[in-house]
Amino acid sequence: MNGRPPAPAGITGLGIVCSVAQDVDGFAAALAAGASGLRPTGTADGPALTADVDGFSLERALAARRLPAHLLGTAARAAGRSPWPLRAAAAAALEAWEAAGLHEAPADPDRIGLVVAGNNLTEQHTEQQRPRYQRDPAYLPARYALHHQDTDHVGTLSHILGITGEGCTVGGASASGNLGVITGARLVEAGAVDVCLVVGALVELSLLQTRGYLTLGAMAAAGPPGTPPPGAPFDADHRGFSPGQAAAVVVLESAASARTRGRAASAVLRGHGSALDGNQLADPSAAGEARAMRTALRRAGLAAREIGYVNTHGTASPLGDRTELAALRLALGDEAGTPWINSTKAVTGHCLASAGVVEAVATVLQLERGFVHPTPGLRRPIDPGYRFAGTAAEDARPGFALSNGFGFGGFNTSLLLARPDA
């Protein structure tokens, strides 16, 4: 490759609403404590465990923000009648906006981008509206024409925040979050925007979507009474993923913009990799996953031994977990056992479209605050040759971390995040 690599984007703001916390500080505390939002569903035919967001209220979320009244008023009006996953995304976006100080040290709105990660986000909403339509088509709620579109996230969030640069949704199944971060980073690296909000959209699964994952055996089913709960990612008792709900946001920003605004980045996105397998199926490929990780390392100009931590895709799929460990061996070689590894999905559930953004937030928090969170429930790792974080948080100061995200249909992605001083 010729020429200088583009200057990497920094991360100047984070926001989250998930099962274990409805703000970033609460999320950091839950990670450090090894809390888990996963709870039994009590339905034999359904998933064994889910990590749902309980008791979310946009009013309460807005009341917690120290933002100008006109901004909070616009948020209440614009998102007030939105489906609740979008209200949660608005809350997370406002938290990240405040953290980045975009209300007090503004950037040019034409130079702010908005990437929403996730697709097929509205099937549950459609499922909910169908009985009204069946009673009479005239009763279909008038906002349906807006609400059934994934891009309603882009419209509503840009309306609230006054964002007038580039915007779009980005999809890649469970790799959507990482693909959103990569897309946002490219907009910043290419100079198309100075600041880019990347929003991982909260997935509320429809009955059909849930059943689809169960039918394939990808999601861990509850089973008849007495069936033991599924094991954590990388545990010998793992038998499929458990879904979680989260909206998460990272603010990516060029170093020049952050400097102009007087803001410090809490982490830097030093590299990223994205590669397809050329495979329509749900079969993961160690070679494809390793290619994504190696690309991220190469773009960052780093050697395998410099990676101190890997936030795995780690869904608790037996095949997926084994394949990812094999991919780590391919990508990192003899150093595969060196970095700490864990799975945030044991804390948040598998947040599907937003997983990559949730895990980018988790990775940044661990780099910034100097710990590696445990993988709650991981008792008997399937392979002793890796450095799994134990049952409690480890004091650790990794400088460089990989965060993986893979998706059905052969999507492989990896982010390389760094402490600013590393």
Binding site: P141, A142, R143
Partner: protein, 82 residues
Amino acid sequence: MSDLTRTQVFDTLRRNALDVVPELDPAAFAAERTLSELGCNSIDRAEIVTLTMEELGIVVPVHEFQQGYDIATLVDVMLKHA
């Protein structure tokens, strides 16, 4: 033909308008005003009418609604199909 009164339709429209647009001034909701004048955008207006039809069990064919109806005319159109 049901026994719906003008007052019932008017009150239902007003309640739904206040639900959809909480900042709307209830005192300004008057028969000779249009929903646009009260600060309702096009999506708000469609939602207020749809919610009111559903609540009252009325179906007005979609082509019978026109832009710029005042509230009294909206009530008339709904009563015609009640």
